[in-house]
């Protein structure tokens, strides 16, 4: 079994050749590696991990986002189907304009996951083929998973009593 820590050095070297800076963390809880990258490079780095790295991460498990007080954080959970390594790639976005490049062209699975993140968290994905709400209705206002979301919306019937 090829562990990701073994190939870490070579991966970092290759990434450096591509002019991509990243920070490599080892999560203290389990075997997963966390890679923190600049949001501008996200397409290149995901492309790299899918096609060029020594361990090819061919399954995109999920795209998720967290609303931290100072910034938004988008994380991509990747799994490789041969050695079962898992990595998490994280990028932080500004509060004012949470926009990131879509990776729906690299993984088809990202299409719906990104729509869900747009719907619930309000992250905008550039160049997404069909960026509209997926779980909530089209005329919903606000993004519920944000911390500043107002729960007692006047339009909801149980708030009109």
């Amino acid at each position: 079994m090829e562990k990701i820590s073994v190939i870490k050095y070579q991966t970092l070297k290759k990434l450096k050749n591509l002019n991509i800076n990243c920070e490599w963390q080892k999560s203290d809880t389990n075997e997963t590696s966390i890679i923190i990258v600049n949001a501008n490079h996200i397409r290149n780095i995901i492309e790299f991990f899918k096609r060029e790295s020594d361990v090819k991460f061919d399954i995109l498990l999920s795209v998720s986002s967290v609303d931290f007080p100072e910034h938004f954080e988008v994380s991509y959970h990747l799994l490789d189907s041969v050695f079962k390594n898992q990595i998490i790639i994280k990028a932080s976005l500004s509060k004012e304009n949470p926009t990131i490049e879509s990776i729906a062209g690299i993984y088809s699975a990202a299409n719906w996951h990104e729509r869900e993140n747009y719907d619930l968290m309000g992250i905008k994905f550039k160049n997404h083929p069909n960026l509209k709400r997926i779980l909530l209705t089209d005329n919903w206002q606000g993004h519920p998973l944000r911390k500043d979301y107002v729960q007692d919306d006047e339009r909801l019937i149980w708030n009109q009593r």
């Binding site: 079994m1 999560s27 203290d28 809880t29 389990n30 075997e31 997963t32 061919d58 399954i59 995109l60 498990l61 999920s62 998720s64 967290v66 609303d67 994380s75 959970h77 799994l79 189907s81 079962k84 898992q86 998490i88 993984y107 088809s108 699975a109 299409n111 719906w112 996951h113 619930l120 709400r133 997926i134 779980l135 909530l136 209705t137 519920p144 998973l145 911390k147």
Partner: protein
């Protein structure tokens, strides 16, 4: 017949007996051939991720069952493992064994329900009665164990809520001896049935490339020839201690997805029997760990070990605060990889909980499979993917 060749847009659902929940499909037909298909989801959205933020960990634990009502134990395990790895709680070995036994039995009950309803979708009524007859026995056992038939709420952070009731394991053993015979019964009426073969063989072929691209996991991926089973490798919980095969098939059509689930049920029975054989002993009152792990990995540690006298206080249910941190758990659920991503900020409430559910991907791949096939095959394809809609919408 000029009119039949015309393009036609029709609506299936949201309430439709074949959709196992509330799913709407917008289908563009040309004659009987599906040209385009668009699933519309979200009718069962309950905001289960948002609800976590206003509740304490123990309050939220009861809601976790509802993510997928057919495999409650897996959702509970997913959330518990994530929180345990943040709080660095070690689960006693016997509790891990109890988790494995209950999870594998749950896998069988989930697959049995799938089998019955899948054949019902194809128009065969009688298999439903066979599978429900046997699923009833499993649900009876769960009821005796946890007090509920579907939403068990049986696991807790650091263990399980109680030990097996007296004589429960004997009943499980007896059932495990009975079930393979009953599976043979299904095989006798289904596997070689010419109508069933006609409806499923070569229908809805999911190639390896498409499956990986869409993030399909679980039996659907293994039916396409990819050997990915997280129980085997990397192996969470105590699965490394059992010997079982990862079942794979090569064609990736509806028929293979049927066969692979039958194989998996047999493997699950194997695992349950092995787990009962190896079950570590102990008294019921020591099943819930009373102190977070001291950090060692020894078997008989003074503090975190299971068969020693634990003198520390119990985890305070009201004031349980895991430290700052985040964790992801990956669980091989009946439908694929269920993953729970928990971010803790050191307070009583989780800061963010994210559910990654396998059915979400399974619905997403449906247009890819259904394009170009006949309308009458749509329900066979959709049924064979084993989608549970509450899990899609969360």
């Amino acid at each position: 017949m000029q009119t039949l060749a015309k393009q036609m847009k029709i609506n299936v659902g949201p309430q439709h007996p074949g959709t196992h929940g509330v799913l709407r499909l917008i289908i563009e037909l040309e004659g009987e051939v599906i040209k385009n298909l668009e699933p519309v989801i979200g009718y069962l959205h309950r905001g289960i991720e948002k609800l976590a933020e206003s509740r304490t960990y123990y309050q939220y634990l009861t809601m976790v069952d509802r993510v997928d009502y057919l495999s409650s134990f897996f959702n509970l395990a997913s959330f518990c493992y994530a929180v345990e790895s943040i709080a660095k709680i070690k689960v006693p070995r016997r509790a891990e064994y109890i988790r494995v036994i209950t999870m594998e039995l749950n896998r069988i009950s989930s697959h049995l329900l799938w089998l019955g309803t899948f054949l019902l979708d194809l128009g065969a009524t009688s298999p439903l009665f066979y599978t429900f007859r046997d699923r009833e026995k499993l649900l009876g056992l769960f009821e005796e164990l946890a007090g509920a038939r579907l939403l068990y709420n049986f696991y807790s952070f650091g263990g399980v809520k109680q030990d097996f009731p007296p004589n429960w394991l004997n009943k499980v053993k007896k059932l495990c001896d009975e079930l393979p015979v009953l599976f043979n019964e299904y095989e006798a009426i289904i596997t070689k049935n010419p109508i069933f073969l006609e409806r499923t063989k070569g229908i809805g072929i999911l190639t390896k490339k498409v499956a990986l691209d869409y993030g399909i996991t679980g039996p659907n991926l293994r039916a396409s020839g990819v050997e990915t089973d997280l129980r085997k490798e990397p192996g969470y919980s105590v699965y490394n201690e059992f010997s079982f095969d990862v079942c794979t098939r090569q064609n990736g059509d509806c028929y293979d997805r049927y066969l692979i689930r039958l194989d998996e049920m047999r493997q699950s029975i194997d695992i349950v029997l092995q787990a009962i054989e190896k079950l570590p002993g102990g008294t019921p009152d020591k099943l819930l760990i009373k102190r977070p792990n001291c950090g060692c990995s020894e078997e008989n540690c003074k503090y975190c070990g299971f068969d020693t006298l634990l003198t520390e206080k119990k985890i305070n249910l009201v004031n349980f605060k895991p430290p700052k941190g985040e964790a992801t758990s990956l669980i091989e659920a009946p439908r694929g990889i269920t993953s729970c991503y928990v971010v803790s900020d050191g307070t009583k409430n989780p800061y963010r909980v994210r559910w990654r559910t396998p059915s979400f991907s399974n619905v997403q791949v449906l247009p890819e499979l259904a394009k170009g096939s006949l309308y009458s095959d749509l329900m066979a394809i959709f049924g064979s993917l084993d989608v549970v809609l509450p899990e899609v919408d969360r």
